[in-house]
């Protein structure tokens, strides 16, 4: 679904131009940062000369690398929301195994910002959430409401405005690294299973 490249360099902009711009951007940086920049310039130059065209837009907001998309959401807590969400998260004792059922979530984190006034929710997942949002609403409405009702203005899972609420609070990552952009969560599960079987086979014949 990805159509546009967010990191596409300006036409005709050479790696030298980009390094020149970098040096200008660092003009008011501390001396040690300037030194650090110069020390890393060789690597940066090669990265700048070979932009990763696979970083693309993931639906309306967010970016995507290969099959993996990122979603970063920052929203103010509703009154009492921080305490409620903290209680919900602590009750889990760190166990989020039920998320396995979704089958497309690589990771998920809940970070409380600015003295418990804002939530930062960040996740990496396969595909586009847009395509599956109706399925999530239909199948796991309680989970979504328990988490996100902590935030101000959460319209409730069954409200069609929920797509807009998410999009309006989403912030696209400026930079993002994915080790295996070509592997989905389900691919990894499969590859692990195949790898285990191969190891067992090798153990037997070795």
């Amino acid at each position: 679904m990805a159509t546009q490249t967010l990191t596409r360099p300006k036409q005709n902009q050479t790696a030298e131009d980009k390094i020149q711009q970098l040096r200008q951007a660092f003009a008011d940086a501390p001396e040690f940062a300037k030194t650090a920049l110069e020390n890393t310039l060789r690597d940066l130059a090669s990265a700048a000369a070979q932009p990763r065209s696979r970083m693309e837009s993931a639906g309306r907001t967010g970016s995507r690398q290969g099959t993996v998309s990122e979603l970063t959401l920052i929203a103010p807590f509703a009154r009492g929301g921080a305490a409620r969400l903290r209680a919900v998260l602590q009750a889990r004792n760190g166990n989020y195994d039920d998320t396995d059922k979704v089958g497309t979530v690589h990771d998920m984190r809940f970070v409380f910002l600015d003295n418990d006034t804002k939530l930062l929710f960040a996740t990496a997942f396969d595909g586009d959430w847009d395509a599956y949002i109706d399925d999530f609403v239909a199948k796991i409405p309680n989970e979504l409401d328990v988490f996100f009702s902590a935030c101000e203005g959460w319209p409730g899972t069954h409200n069609p405005a929920v797509r807009d609420w998410i999009a309006n609070h989403q912030v696209t990552a400026e930079g993002w690294y994915v080790a295996h952009p070509d592997l989905t969560v389900r691919d990894i599960t499969r590859v692990k299973r195949v790898g285990k079987a191969v190891e067992e086979f090798l153990d037997k014949i070795g």
């Binding site: 999530f136 796991i140 309680n142």
Partner: protein, 456 residues
């Protein structure tokens, strides 16, 4: 802690109102005749006054869906409009703006979502698909040539003296012997049951789907009733349809089977594994080892199955065409609400059959037309095409596509679960190529009158 809600809208106990079939177009609910003949006809409206005049003349001939379950109509026509067509009819801007995004953009603009790349890309489509010249489409179905000519003549008289109504496309079609598709498989065997649409549903073990999934004005599977497009007079009893024409390379299909199999029996088995049914229509789940023509011909049994007893895919592969496009209960352990992803199939085949046993392409154009009807194309056709047909992640098959209608470019794979080890076919050619497509709005009969009576 993750308590999966069993079915959508289960808390909504209100019974759906009966469908107002006298205001819904026949094409929405009525199965095509068997055997069938017909033609798709597309017009461009060069003048708003003439466009509305054509509508006024055609109105009395647009068939309603009354008693759709009785095979009594010798021939009928349905009418639908593209977004460009509604603009040409000068539908008010506020109304135009209220249509769903995929309809406003048109199918060509959705290529990235639909994975229409390479040979399937809109740049390679036939005229007028993907252009602004496609305005009004007629779908004419008939039981025989005489009735087809009669309906075509009615259609011709609605515009023959209107010089600014131009005929931009015609596609005649007809069924092949024994109701087979060009690949040689009996088709048209499954359609969802629309709740409240008839006194008695067809045989099968499937629960009916809420009418609002297929016609606007009734509650859908989310418990919602469509609020757009506006005004209500325009949307009530209307729906959307996906029109998509594709060429079938029957010779390539036969050659591939020949190359992969060591006997004619194995060729048939591989073909059935790809489709999910044998050529007779007998489903693999019910007839895993051999074709069962009696089962295939029995309408009370050939669609009465699920995948609960085949969760390893040993009978019907996960990747088989019919298991992908209509997973039934196969995804019951996943966070997927399958009832949100259905459409009514009113498609047809076109072109001459490639004679039995011929392995060389004769250059003839033959294939199929999807005419898929649903009130929510984004989570119906577009979801099925992007998530289930052109991807394999939902069944843990990586990027593997539908072996029959995937948009591969000759590098496809097809996985057949098997004991002790699965078999994987490589180098699957693209057996179908998209020739063009468009999203259309199919209004109810009163809404057609509303469109015809608009004044500038």
């Amino acid at each position: 802690m993750l308590s999966v809600t069993e079915s959508v809208g289960q808390t909504l106990s209100t019974r759906s109102p009966a469908l107002e079939t006298s205001d819904i177009q026949a094409t929405v609910l009525r199965p095509r005749p068997s055997p069938y003949l017909g033609e798709y006809v597309v017009f461009r409206i060069g003048d708003v006054g003439q466009g509305r005049e054509m509508l006024r003349r055609i109105l009395p001939h647009v068939a309603p869906a009354d008693e759709w379950w009785v095979p009594s109509l010798p021939g009928w026509l349905g009418i639908a409009f593209t977004f460009e067509g509604l603009k040409a009819l000068r539908v008010p801007q506020a109304s135009l703006d209220s249509f769903p995004i995929e309809f406003r953009q048109g199918m060509a603009a959705r290529a990235a979502i639909l994975h229409d790349f390479g040979a399937n890309a809109p740049g390679n489509w036939e005229y007028p698909f993907g252009t602004a010249d496609m305005h009004v489409a007629l779908a004419i179905y008939a039981q025989d040539e005489q009735n087809l000519q009669r309906v075509l003549e009615l259609a011709r008289k609605t515009h023959h003296d209107l010089p600014d109504i131009s005929l931009v496309y015609r596609l005649p079609f007809g069924s092949l012997p024994e109701g087979r598709n060009p690949f040689g498989f009996k088709d048209g065997l499954h359609n969802p049951q629309v709740e409240g649409s008839s006194p008695a549903g067809p045989a099968g073990n499937e629960a009916p789907i809420k009418a609002g999934e297929f016609v606007m004005g009734y509650p859908d599977e989310k418990g919602e009733t469509a609020q757009t497009p506006i005004p209500e007079e325009l949307r009530h009893n209307g729906t959307f349809l996906t029109f998509r024409k594709f060429h079938m390379d029957v010779a390539a299909f036969r050659q591939y089977l020949r190359a992969q199999a060591s006997s004619p029996e194995e060729e048939e088995l591989l073909a059935a594994k790809m489709v999910g049914r044998w050529r007779s229509g007998a489903p693999l789940v019910l007839a895993p080892d051999h074709d069962d023509p009696a089962l295939g011909a029995d309408a009370t049994r050939n669609n009465d199955f699920g995948y609960a007893d085949d969760m390893k895919g040993l009978k019907c592969p996960f990747s088989a065409h019919i298991r992908r496009v209509n997973p039934r209960d196969a995804l019951k352990n996943d966070i997927v609400a399958v009832n949100l992803h259905h459409f009514l199939r009113r498609g047809t085949n076109f072109g001459p059959p490639l004679p039995e046993g011929v392995l060389e392409d004769d250059g003839a154009e033959r294939g199929g037309v999807f005419l898929l009807i649903g009130a929510h194309q984004q989570r119906q056709f577009e979801f099925i095409q992007s998530q289930w047909v052109t991807d394999g992640n939902f069944i843990s098959h990586g990027t593997e596509q539908d072996p029959i209608i995937g948009n591969g470019e000759g590098d496809g794979v097809f996985t057949i679960p098997k004991r002790p080890v699965r078999r994987r076919l490589q180098g699957l050619p693209a057996f179908v190529t998209v020739r063009g497509g468009e999203y259309c709005f199919m209004p109810g009969l009163r809404a057609l009158r509303w469109l015809a009576d608009l004044s500038s």
